[in-house]
Subunit: 341 residues, 3 copies
Amino acid sequence: MNDSFRPKQIQLNRYGQLKHFLTLDGLDKLLLTEILDTADSFIEVGERSIKKVPLLRGKTVVNLFFEASTRTRSTFELAAKRLSADVLNINISTSATSKGESLSDMLQNLEAMASDMFVVRHAQSGAPHFIASAVTPQVSIINAGDGRHAHPTQAMLDMLTIRQHKGQFDGLVVAIVGDILHSRVARSQIQALRTLGAAEVRVVAPNTLLPSDTDALGARVYNDARAGLRDVDVIVMLRLQKERMEGALLPSENEFYRLYGLTDEKLGWAKPDAIVMHPGPINRGVEIASSVADGSQSVILNQVTNGIAVRMAVMSMAMGGMTVEKNELASTQAELTANVR
Amino acid sequence: MNDSFRPKQIQLNRYGQLKHFLTLDGLDKLLLTEILDTADSFIEVGERSIKKVPLLRGKTVVNLFFEASTRTRSTFELAAKRLSADVLNINISTSATSKGESLSDMLQNLEAMASDMFVVRHAQSGAPHFIASAVTPQVSIINAGDGRHAHPTQAMLDMLTIRQHKGQFDGLVVAIVGDILHSRVARSQIQALRTLGAAEVRVVAPNTLLPSDTDALGARVYNDARAGLRDVDVIVMLRLQKERMEGALLPSENEFYRLYGLTDEKLGWAKPDAIVMHPGPINRGVEIASSVADGSQSVILNQVTNGIAVRMAVMSMAMGGMTVEKNELASTQAELTANVR
Amino acid sequence: MNDSFRPKQIQLNRYGQLKHFLTLDGLDKLLLTEILDTADSFIEVGERSIKKVPLLRGKTVVNLFFEASTRTRSTFELAAKRLSADVLNINISTSATSKGESLSDMLQNLEAMASDMFVVRHAQSGAPHFIASAVTPQVSIINAGDGRHAHPTQAMLDMLTIRQHKGQFDGLVVAIVGDILHSRVARSQIQALRTLGAAEVRVVAPNTLLPSDTDALGARVYNDARAGLRDVDVIVMLRLQKERMEGALLPSENEFYRLYGLTDEKLGWAKPDAIVMHPGPINRGVEIASSVADGSQSVILNQVTNGIAVRMAVMSMAMGGMTVEKNELASTQAELTANVR
């Protein structure tokens, strides 16, 4: 495997600046912290009377959703519009691929329209990485969730929320509870927490909702919720993706709720100032009790607010890294032309 | 029933300014006149070469349509864009509620994205009022039609059209003809006309298209079109909502047209300078003859033009009232904080 | 047939400026060249860091698609947004026409909302012309493809691509290959090439994919690809519209590819510097080999880039012609009013 195809290489330009945002794998603490700091500065924009900055004015952002998600698409659309970009929404299931056009041809066409950024959601793991590596030299790719692989903007908004409430990551114990097996969110969260220096990351789930190779997760595994939640600082509940679990050897919803659903009682096992997170949408009474979701320790709606800020941060940083690279390319070409003369 | 849940209370801030626009019930003549005057000032914007004002720049308006309506959605989208707002269209039938998310959770999420306004269309009466009262302290709600209850922007654009052509409401006799039973438009029109001081409001319909409690309508009931249309100044034809009337004890379309359809002959029973209105879309040959719809007394297309102006007026007024309330809240909090110190 | 309904008359105002863009039929070389020159000036906008000009600021452009086409809709949407227009997308199959509203009523409604431009795609030939002639005095109509009739912006982006690579049209021999019978693109291309002075236009196809009256095409007909491609400067491959050809007396896809599909071998029959074009989306291995589509003589992606520029050009020119006409109308009315006094 060629060096230049390692995620880190493809995500950064030669100055280490973000060009694409595909995965947290290979990104270092400095860069993740830069994303959080930039997002912090955008929080204030959402509180202004005029929620708009001109950073992406005249840029074209294409929401390329191969998998429908009104919620995620809306947050990226709002983030792009608050950065003053022009936004084009393309829902692939209803588009020209039905005419037999190849993915690669479709992407080249969108590039040729002078698009600056593709926000890609895809049911297949690795699709955004494929797009970034194989197809485009001029367009920045943002992963908005690919298969079971990664959901890096979700993980970073979670990190922003943790940092807001806990100040820092040193010494924190974080438990991620539920369907780890099918969760791109959990994968990205574990990477982010380890990179940012959390003391301990736990996953709490029955074996049927854990991958076969739990060692590779980089987290301590607990089947028992009482042990797993004991004295943690942060609880992340995952959504039970009913639509993904048909035919699986699963406890029933009731059984799952009894064993792992976050009730006031279970929340009591964590530290008194523990915060409760959830990527949404919530299944009340399945993975979380309403009293907890709406309780004083819940920061679930903060996550949503932070989601806009983190997406604005990643989009503006990627556009910056891309611009530096383009200018460099242009001056190299100018130099070559000069030498030819 | 708590006082604070009466529509008037919830629609206005403590200075009597519009915060939400849910129903005409409880709004006084002064406020309705202010809406009409503001709309008048926006008519001119639609005639400019650059049809745009910066009143809602940097605001996020979400079109939240639980019931599809390209026509109404388009007028609100255009109104918001001409006020320079960022617009997000969400069609709920295709969105995350299919993932089992509750309405309330979905709304809280949209609020957490720092939305400023929800334009709500819903098949259930009272849905916008529920949203305004139960869910949100920071977001302005505009009713774009709920069940059989109300369609207040439609009624106000009708009032604007009447005022443009008749100068004032004093002394006017207005006949509303057709399917009163299922019509949210008729309900809102009757309220508006009574508040604004029309001399007489008539409803003209067969008993099968009238509510059982006709006294509560606040209008004189006529089963006979000739009597009902005699010497009126304004005729409002309602759309025969075929899709709503299956199984009803109805005359056939032909029979309806013979008895109530507005033909040149029936129009002759009204005053010579009577105007003809219709909320659209028109069923030609069902409730109105083409010669009347396209005739010199028809102001149907003026209604459409006025619809944009009225929606711009209501949106900008509600945003103003909301802003005053937010500032007040902020200064109260600042005061409280100061007292604590 | 009244003179004023001839396409040329309806497309131009009395100063010969573009008001509507429906077909290339009746437009002269001077006007087509003006479109190409204007488009050239917009190419540079697509290369800027801020890809935006304020020419259509405050204008409302409605994409009125009676036939779904994500690709074409996207290019018009991007072109309009880069001109700073407000864009409203209306997909008719899902809109109010399902409520039984007539096309004419729907259009009058959109006009009454102070729309400035309709971009119309329709499966029926002549629909945009009908709309321009019958319905609207104030709205500019752009044909985005109607039935088998015309696709004038596609043809003009092809002309721009040819001019960029060949410098001029004099002396050029152009071959259009494939499904001529069903192609609105081919019809518009032949008109454009003849008007702009190409030396020879050839159509290369089996008789089953040619119209019965080949003389009316204005092109030399070749059934044999080797003869048809010999020494040509430009090859335009058409998309094999599988969905349109069911039941037709057709060669199989394989047979078609063997006889007409553009392979390296067949490309070798053309001039060494011949360029290869295709309106997209491509059927690789059906009408064109991947090695040719991606080869050094292919200008297929340039066509896409030029598509945005040509659409910006046509939109801004039509809006200009429309504005002149409106001002003229206004001053005529002012004069009449003055005379009355």
